[in-house]
């Protein structure tokens, strides 16, 4: 009675829970990256992103206005301002004027300084310094205060990457350049692999099994092995570094997986259709174009997604085969790495760049994702 179709098993809940758990596990770092992309460098290094979402009590030090801004009121020299001029306001709990006693005074308390001047910080963040003599020096008095401040986010990182004139030109150039690399590097291997997969799946010729074994074997060869020999070869035959070279390299590195995936799919197509076509007098080319290709669309699409994502995110192959010292060729990944700075400490840029460069692959993925699962499962589940 328990196994009647339509009856929900108790395990469904376990499945749902574990799926939810996995999704959260996978999304967690992405969330952190996303939150970080809206924070400044100083915020990132001083507190974790999970603290950015809630009001926090922070110890803050700022400099008051410099002595050059003092005004004379009733014979006293006065400097006024607000500690919240350059940051979001909050509630001040206590304050101080020395790094040794940052919580010495209550808001509103008037304090006498060493040089005879007085200073006070009010609850709303305004401060007032008074002195009978002129204030000297070039830097303002340091004010330490503890305040509970609401979450603070900024769009500056995105603005810096997309609209700052130092970057926007390079970024748009890199964007088109990446497309120039990615689209042919996705189309060419699919074309070649589709032909090869058909031949390996449906044409009878001696040594077919060994060829298939070789293709599978190539899957485990790391591409790093081929970098220098292949670049040398490109230089020798006159291709050098450039788009043609990077297309060929991506094609070569992508082919084993493409052929393997497509062949497995095509082998699973019903034999009857193909034999019927043969009996009716169709040539192999006709069978391939009119029957196999339309039927293999899910597999083609799923490989296209793979190859597109891989070439879009690739830095290594582009560095070796495309980017030369002329500075005329670049890709998004390279542009982003450059923005990280000479010593690579600009995390806020990294987080922002990750989301900007993710936009296109995500669009491609959602446009084609319904084919992905179908194409991957085809051949394994019959």
């Amino acid at each position: 009675m328990d196994n009647i179709a339509g009856h929900k098993s108790g395990l469904t809940w376990a499945v749902h829970l574990s799926v939810a758990f996995l999704v959260i596990l996978w999304l967690f770092p992405t969330m952190g990256l996303f939150v970080s992309s809206f924070r400044t460098a100083d915020q990132i290094s001083s507190s974790g992103w999970w603290k950015a979402l809630f009001p926090t009590e922070q110890n803050i030090v700022i400099r008051g206005a410099s002595p050059s801004e003092q005004v004379q009121v009733d014979g006293m020299y006065v400097i006024e301002g607000s500690v919240f001029d350059s940051r979001a306001s909050g509630d001040i709990a206590h304050w101080g004027t020395s790094s040794r006693e940052i919580d010495a005074y209550k808001p509103g308390e008037v304090v006498e300084m060493r040089d005879g001047s007085t200073i006070t910080l009010n609850e709303d963040g305004t401060y007032r310094m008074e002195n009978a003599a002129e204030f000297e020096g070039s830097r303002g008095q340091r004010i330490f205060f503890t305040a509970t401040t609401p979450p603070e986010f900024t769009l500056d990182n995105y603005e810096f990457m997309l609209f700052d004139e130092r970057n926007s030109e390079g970024m748009s150039k890199a964007f088109f350049s990446t497309l120039t690399v990615t689209i042919p590097a996705t189309v060419i291997p699919i074309l070649i692999a589709a032909f090869a997969a058909y031949a390996l799946a449906w044409m009878e010729f001696p040594g077919r099994a060994i060829l298939i074994a070789c293709v599978v074997g190539l899957l485990v060869v790391p591409l790093q092995l081929a970098l220098i020999p292949l670049l040398k070869f490109h230089n020798n035959i006159g291709i050098g570094k450039g788009y043609l070279g990077v297309w060929l390299a991506h094609t070569g590195f992508g082919l084993p997986l493409a052929i393997y995936l497509l062949r497995n799919y095509m082998v699973g197509l019903p034999r009857d259709i193909i034999e019927n076509a043969k009996v009716d007098g169709a040539t192999d080319f006709q069978i391939f174009v009119k029957i196999i290709l339309p039927l293999s669309f899910p597999a083609l699409a799923s490989f296209a997604i793979f190859q597109f994502l891989w070439t879009w995110n690739d830095l290594l192959v582009a560095m070796v085969f495309l980017i030369d010292s002329s500075g005329q060729t670049t890709v998004m990944t390279k542009q982003i790495v450059e923005m990280l700075g000479t010593r690579g400490g600009d995390w806020e840029i990294l987080a922002t760049a990750a989301f900007i460069s993710m936009a296109v692959p995500i669009a491609v993925f959602f446009a084609m994702q319904r084919y992905l699962v179908r194409g991957l499962l085809a051949g394994s589940v019959k």
Binding site: D42, E169, K173, H234, D324, S325, Q328, E338
Partner: protein, 450 residues
């Protein structure tokens, strides 16, 4: 059709990218040495239509500053000079040189890497004139000549590269305001520095911020510490023997230097977060502790480029200052200068490349860079007024007054040691391993290379 369209879009993008470079500072204005530039420009070869390519490790924002320098070369010769930066420069230059697609000029962050390429015959010697020029015009000139001289593929020593963009190690950064608040005095000797460290700890505060984290290069800040301690406990000749491994790494004297570093880093009361946090703190984050409220620490030893990692509102020279890591009064070893830097060398000779190398020896080539960034020039001919701020000027003076200059030792050691076991060994040592055991391990890895 689709392909055609794409190719033309890419073409358009490329044309748009090749905008005309403008001169950052108008000729004749500002604290720059224009005379030598205009004199050179008049006799400079006409290189119209030629392109000179330069590759190096500088990225944003230094790459922009270097392009500003190149603009003056373009103006003088009509050539096009292109700089490309890469964060994986060390790997890329090896691949490119090996495959025959190297840039005209390479900017090496480590002399050791340049020596490797020289030994394979992939670089072009600069000749005796240039060697003489460096010896005459750089402070502690012979030290710089030696650092740019490597054996070629036949084993004959040749002069290959000169240094451009130098940084000064062994600076101790502090916040003058925090020192005022606490009433601390700047130490003049290592003994005083140790006394100050103990005093700060006794006051219930934390004296030092030390961070060794640096991704795959974690540990290098500690190698700088040990090199500094080496130069302060032993004469420079011993330092040279250590770097070339004539003296084994597990020598008593090296272990003593490692333990001097341990005196600071392995005492929980002396470092922010305790000694356990030293290895895991990123070196880029560690200086920020000087400026927090309340301060997490009072002292931070880092090279001249530390200012790049200060919080944005910190003004170097006002909110932050440095003193030179002092020597032991009892040792009387003077004030040796430890530094690092990038070396320029020709990897694909053309007339344009040679002209550019010549241009880069002019004071103006250093001045335009140092006016915008933490760039220090060992060139005696540069106008010190061109330094961006007082702090850099003070550092520039230290560099020019140097009688002995020693290069960052870990950059001179073979990569497997200087960028490998020395780094990891220092992480182990900081984590509590015995200094002798660490030194033994490093020496064993060096022996394995021989």
């Amino acid at each position: 059709m689709k392909f055609h369209l794409l190719a033309s879009v890419a073409g358009l993008a490329l044309v748009a990218g090749a905008a005309n470079a403008e001169l950052k500072f108008p000729v004749g204005e500002g604290p720059f040495s224009w005379d030598s530039y205009t004199a050179w420009a008049e006799s400079a070869p006409d290189l119209s239509g030629q392109t000179v390519t330069v590759s190096g490790p500088w990225l944003n924002p230094e790459d922009g500053f270097f392009r500003d320098v190149l603009a003056y070369f373009e103006e003088a010769t009509g050539a096009k000079a292109v700089y490309t930066g890469s964060d994986g420069f060390e790997q890329q230059i090896v691949i490119d040189a090996e495959a025959g697609s190297a840039p005209n000029i390479a900017v090496f962050p480590q002399p050791g890497l340049a020596a490797v390429l020289a030994a394979k015959g992939q670089m072009t010697p600069l000749g005796d004139d240039m060697r003489q020029w460096v010896a005459d015009n750089y402070a502690a000139g012979q030290s710089w000549v030696d650092l740019g001289t490597y054996p070629d593929q036949n084993g004959d020593p040749q002069f290959y590269g000169f240094f451009y963009n130098v940084n000064l190690k062994s600076l101790v950064w502090y916040s003058p305001d925090n020192f005022d608040d606490a009433g601390y005095e700047l130490p003049g000797t290592m003994e005083e520095l140790k006394a100050l460290t103990e005093q700060i700890a006794a006051d219930g505060e934390v004296p030092w911020c030390i961070g060794l984290g640096s991704g795959a290069a974690t540990g290098w800040p500690a190698t700088d510490w040990v090199e500094d301690m080496m130069l302060r406990t032993q004469p420079p000749e011993v330092y040279d023997q250590w770097v070339s491994n004539e003296m084994p790494f597990n020598d008593e004297r090296v272990i003593e230097a490692i333990e001097e570093y341990g005196w600071f880093a392995r005492n929980d009361a002396f470092v922010s977060g305790g000694s356990g946090a030293v290895s895991s703190t990123d070196f880029r984050d560690s200086p920020k502790g000087l400026f927090t409220s309340p301060p997490q620490c009072y002292l931070h030893r880092q090279a001249s480029f530390a200012t790049a990692f200060f919080p944005e509102d910190v003004v170097p020279g006002e909110d932050a200052d440095f003193f030179y890591l002092p020597g032991f009064a009892e040792k009387d070893l003077g004030n040796p200068v430890l530094g690092g830097g990038t070396v320029l060398a020709i990897t694909d000779p053309t007339p344009g490349a040679e002209a550019l190398m010549e241009f880069l020896t002019l004071p103006i080539a250093s001045e335009v860079f140092m006016n915008q960034s933490g760039f220090l020039a060992p060139h005696k001919g540069v106008n010190l007024d061109a330094y961006r701020d007082e702090i850099l000027r003070k550092q520039g003076e230290i560099l020019l007054d140097a009688t002995t200059f020693r290069f960052d030792g870990s950059d001179l050691m073979p990569a497997a040691v200087g960028a490998g076991t020395f780094w990891t060994g220092m992480v182990d040592y900081t984590g509590g391993k015995d200094a002798k055991a660490v030194a033994d391990d490093i020496q064993r890895s060096w022996d394995a290379l021989k």
